[in-house]
Each structure stands twice: as C-alpha cells, then as structure tokens.
C-alpha cells in the first residue's frame, strides 16, 4: 500500500461507471487523461438526468413551479461553487461556457472604456508555461489596445524564472495572469508570492486554476487579502463535472468595475431604445439562458469532491504521481519534462521517449487500453522552451490506481520493443 492513497479507492472507482468498460479488444480501460477531461461519477450523471426529467425550465424568469425549481437548482450550483472556492461572496461567482470563455471575458473587458482599460504604455504579464487559452486572449487584447505583453520565463527544471520579477512588475503593469498548476509541466507556481508582488505595483492578478481546482484545496476567503487573486477561473469538466460550464470568480471590486462582456437577456436592469442599464454581479456577465443543467451537474460534482475532501484528493494525487515518476524512471530513454518531486507538482506528467514520436507512443498505448494525451497540450511556448515539438502526457485523478500506472509502464516498454528500440 502506497502512503497517501485514498483509503476507499475501490469504492471511489465504483462511483465512476465508465471505469468498468473495456476496449473493443476486451482490455480494461486505463484512463490516464484526466488533465484533459475527468470522468464523471454516477451522482453527477443522476443529478443532471433528474433535473432534466423533473425540474427543467428556464431560470429567473419563468413564473411557475418548474421555473422556481430550476432557478433554485441553478443558483444552488452557484452556492456550491462559492463554497468549493471559499469565495467571500456567492455573487462573485460567474458561470461561463468554460475556462477559456472566462479568460476571454476578462481580457476583452480590459480593452473597453473603464477604470481598468488598457492602452499604450500599459503592460500585461503572463508566463511561458500557460495554456494557449491564457495566452491568445491577452495577445489579442494587447494588440488591440497597444499595451505590451511580457512574459515570465522558465528555468531548466520547469519552474517560473522569477529573477527578473522587478523588471516585469512595475507601475506600468496592469494585469498579471498566470496558471496555478501547469497542464504540461505539472509545476505548482508560487501564486501567493507573485500575487503579493503584483498587488504592490497595483496590478490585477488573474489565476488560471483549470488544473489547480481539481487537485488542490482552494480557500479564497482564508487567503491574506494581499495574496488573494482578483480573479480565478476553472472549468467544470476537469472537476468531475460536465462540459459546457466554466467558472469566473472575481472579487466584487473587480467585477463591479469591469464593463459587461456579452449583452442580452438576463444581464440587464432595464432596456430602452436609447440605452440600457445593467444587472448587478454576477448576472451582469451572464447574458442569455445560462448552462442550467450543467450548473446542476457542476454543483453535484463539487459536492462529490468536497465529500471525499480536497486534502485527501491532493494526497492521493501526490502519491500516484510519485509512484508514476518512479515507474517512468525505469523506462529506458524516457525523459520527464518538468519537476520530478511529486510534492512540488500536480498530477500531469509529460514525457518524451527517445526515438518514438508522442503520436506513435499514444497510438501503441491505446492499443493496450491505456489512454494518454500526445501533442503540444495547448502549450506550444512551453514545449518550445524545452526544445521539443510535442510530448506524451499521463495525468491521474482521484480514481487512478497504482495498477493503472503499472499498466502504463508495461505498455511503454512494449512501445519501445514495438519500435525495436531494444
């Protein structure tokens, strides 16, 4: 027994019906692509089916029984997100389509007239390890506004290079946006320190928690104010919830000072032909019929994770990641990209094998029932930093067992023999 694994791992696995299926060749499924999307427990599936079967109506405008029930269920999802994040207020939780939309909402509204409007001379700082969704929106907004996009580089061992932090964070720096946990390198960034430093120069801090929210306990209210980000985003489908829903948490001060993003139903206070006035937060940023059943599913998902406990899930991820790093080290010619200390990293482990392209690695693993991701993982700049075009990535979650890792290692050795690397 490996120290730190979830004590009821076999019970947890039974919560995820997909884990019992087999491949067309009759092999058990070894799912190691949870950083891409996580599998869903039965409670999430049931909550969504029950909502559609019994409570479906539009929210906040249908003056009937089902409308009231649907509104309650939808807003219940918001309450659950607020509690999952330790948000100071439930009104600071905005539902979006995904994390990308949440980041685009922020980047776009920073371009428009208002207290935070970017312009020539202003600087937005991001990092070389970001997912494309936390790069491209800021490239677009800096191109449009004449602001400058600057970057924290990476050290050879896959950490943020903070040696030039004083040059990057100056009175010109208006936004600092970075990932909490890298989806490629697995690195856990020192976000409290960077946030504090960014706040000292008056910058707004945006955290991409897409990989952090599934793995780390988050308690915004408990953070010292100087170290609390101004905005944090994550996506539902990586936290055992459905696709089609993401979360933007923003401090009341930030959200109230930003202009609306999309216009439409639900986000208004009143509309005349001359002008409109806008609803308060969070509805100001939720134009149109929202993802209702997805919010219900996300609420059930976060309740499930909280029920198991995010501390316990973090310990499990560290234990499995440590076991995986040991196993990967036994495969000849395999090189891990990113930190090799399981306690300093998340559960996504990218690697290269000498002589076999990642696409071919993934294909051979798939033929053995082992699902991993191959490619650039939407992090091309981070790959370029390490001189590689693409990599293979295994990523675990609360349902991953040591046997899954054994199957991966066995399949990697088979891959080497298949391509006759000895």
């Amino acid at each position: 027994m490996i120290d730190g694994l979830l004590p009821d791992l076999e019970v947890v696995r039974k919560d995820f019906p997909i884990l019992t299926r087999t491949t067309p060749a009759g092999l058990p499924l070894v799912y190691l692509d949870s950083a891409n999307t996580s599998q869903k427990p039965q409670v999430v599936i049931d909550a969504m089916v029950d909502h559609l079967e019994r409570h479906n109506a539009n929210v906040a405008r249908a003056m009937h029984l089902l409308g009231a029930e649907a509104t309650e269920a939808f807003e219940g999802g918001r309450d659950r997100v607020a509690s999952f994040l330790g948000a100071p207020s439930r009104e600071e939780v905005v539902f979006t389509k995904n994390a990308s939309e949440a980041l685009n909402l922020l980047a776009n509204t920073f371009a428009w007239a208002g207290e935070h409007q970017l312009g020539p001379g202003d600087v937005v700082v991001t990092t070389e390890m970001e997912h494309h969704s936390n790069i491209v929106p800021w490239q677009l907004v800096t191109e449009r506004t004449g602001a400058e996009l600057r970057w924290f580089g990476l050290t050879d061992d896959g950490q943020l290079d903070l040696t030039n932090i004083d040059e990057l964070l100056t009175e010109h720096t208006k936004v600092v946006t970075l990932t909490w946990v890298s989806n490629m390198l697995g690195t856990i960034n020192p976000v409290a320190e960077i946030t504090r430093r960014a706040h000292e120069v008056g910058a707004v801090v945006v955290l991409d928690a897409s990989q952090a929210a599934p793995q780390l306990p988050i308690d915004l209210a408990a953070m010292p104010e100087a170290e609390r980000p101004d905005a944090l985003v994550f996506t539902g489908h990586k936290t055992v919830g459905p696709t089609g829903i993401g979360v933007l948490w923003g401090s009341r001060a930030l959200l109230e000072s930003l202009p609306p993003f999309l216009g439409g139903g639900e986000m208004i206070e009143t509309v005349t032909m001359e002008r409109s006035t806008y609803a308060g937060i969070p509805h100001k940023f939720e134009a149109g019929t929202p993802p209702i059943v997805e919010a219900v599913g996300l609420g059930a998902a976060l309740e499930y994770l909280d029920g198991i406990g995010m501390e316990a899930i973090q310990r499990h991820e560290q234990a499995i990641t440590g076991y995986a790093l040991e196993g990967l080290a036994t495969v000849p010619g395999l090189k891990v990209l990113g930190p090799t200390d399981a306690h300093a990293r998340g559960g996504a482990v990218s690697f290269e094998i000498d002589g076999v392209h990642p696409h071919d690695v993934a294909q051979v693993l798939d033929s053995r029932g082992v699902a991993v991701r191959a490619g650039h993982h939407c992090a091309k700049p981070a790959h370029a930093r390490f001189g590689v075009q693409s990599s293979s990535r295994m990523s675990s979650y609360l349902y991953t067992t040591p046997a899954d890792i054994d199957a991966l290692v066995e399949a990697l050795n088979y891959t080497r023999s298949y391509f006759t690397l000895g």
Partner: protein, 155 residues
C-alpha cells in the same frame, strides 16, 4: 491487439520513417511552404522545383524538412518518391488517388500500380485521428505546386 497495430504500422512505413527519402531542403526551388497539423503540432517545410516538359510542367524535385510522427514522416517520404519525375498533371492524379484512399475509412482497395509504397497507408484510413498525419506532406506539396504554377502565370 498487435494485428491492429501492425495494420497501421506496416514495415514499409517504419522503413520510410527510419530512412526517409529526399529529405533536406535543396535549391533550386520556386515555392517554399510551411504546413502544420494544429492538433498535434507536426510541421513540414517543403520546397518544390518544377521544370518544363513536353506535356507541361514536371516535378523536378521536392525537398523538405519535417518534424512529426512515423505516419507523417513516412507519408511525406513516400510522396516524394511518387511525384518526383512525374508531370504535375500525373502527380496530381496520384495525389487524388491517395486522398481517396485516406478518406475511405478503410473501404477503398488501393491500386499498387498507382500508389506503389503508398498502399501501405491503407490501414491508416481506419484511424481517423491519423489521416491528417498521412496527408500533411501531400497538402504541403499541393500548396507549393499550386503557388509555383500561379506565380508562373503572373510573370
């Protein structure tokens, strides 16, 4: 399990992967293109050199520098074997034949007379995620050839 893999990774494919033909960027050339497969990041830089022949332009040389998986590398290597020395019209016909094979989801019987080593890719058509890999080099060649012919017309 291994049979399924072997259908994809034919010996011919692995041979071309390990020893690619016509690799490297060479002069002279009339057009150079850079194509990427955005889903995986595979890349190819490819040059085309055409000369005049009795029946219209002839593919005199195709040279390339590519980063990618075994399927994309081998397909590009086989493609150069198939098009170099042919008239552009003939080469475009081979391209069309290969495209039909790749888009056939495994139902098209390849014609070895036309496709030569290219028949080894018949198995790839059963793996939808890999079809783009096999077509990367071909698409780059078609683009560069079209550019060359178009620029020629302008002059």
């Amino acid at each position: 399990m291994s049979a399924e893999l072997d259908a994809l990774y034919q010996e011919i494919i692995l041979d071309h992967y390990k020893n690619p033909h016509h690799q490297g960027l060479r002069d002279p050339f009339e057009a150079e293109v850079h194509h990427v497969n955005p889903t995986c990041g595979d890349e190819v830089t490819l040059r085309v050199h055409l000369t005049d022949g009795p029946d219209g332009p002839v593919v005199d040389d195709v040279s390339y520098d590519a980063l990618g998986c075994s399927i994309s590398q081998a397909a590009t290597s086989v493609m150069t074997d198939l098009v170099i020395g042919k008239s552009v019209a003939e080469a475009m016909d081979v391209h069309a034949e290969f495209l039909t094979l790749m888009q056939g989801k495994g139902t098209v019987e390849p014609d070895e007379e036309v496709l030569e080593d290219g028949i080894a890719f018949a198995g790839v058509a059963k793996f939808p995620a890999r079809v783009k890999c096999a077509l990367l080099g071909w698409m780059a060649w078609k683009d560069a050839t079209t550019q060359t012919l178009t620029n020629g017309d302008d002059q």
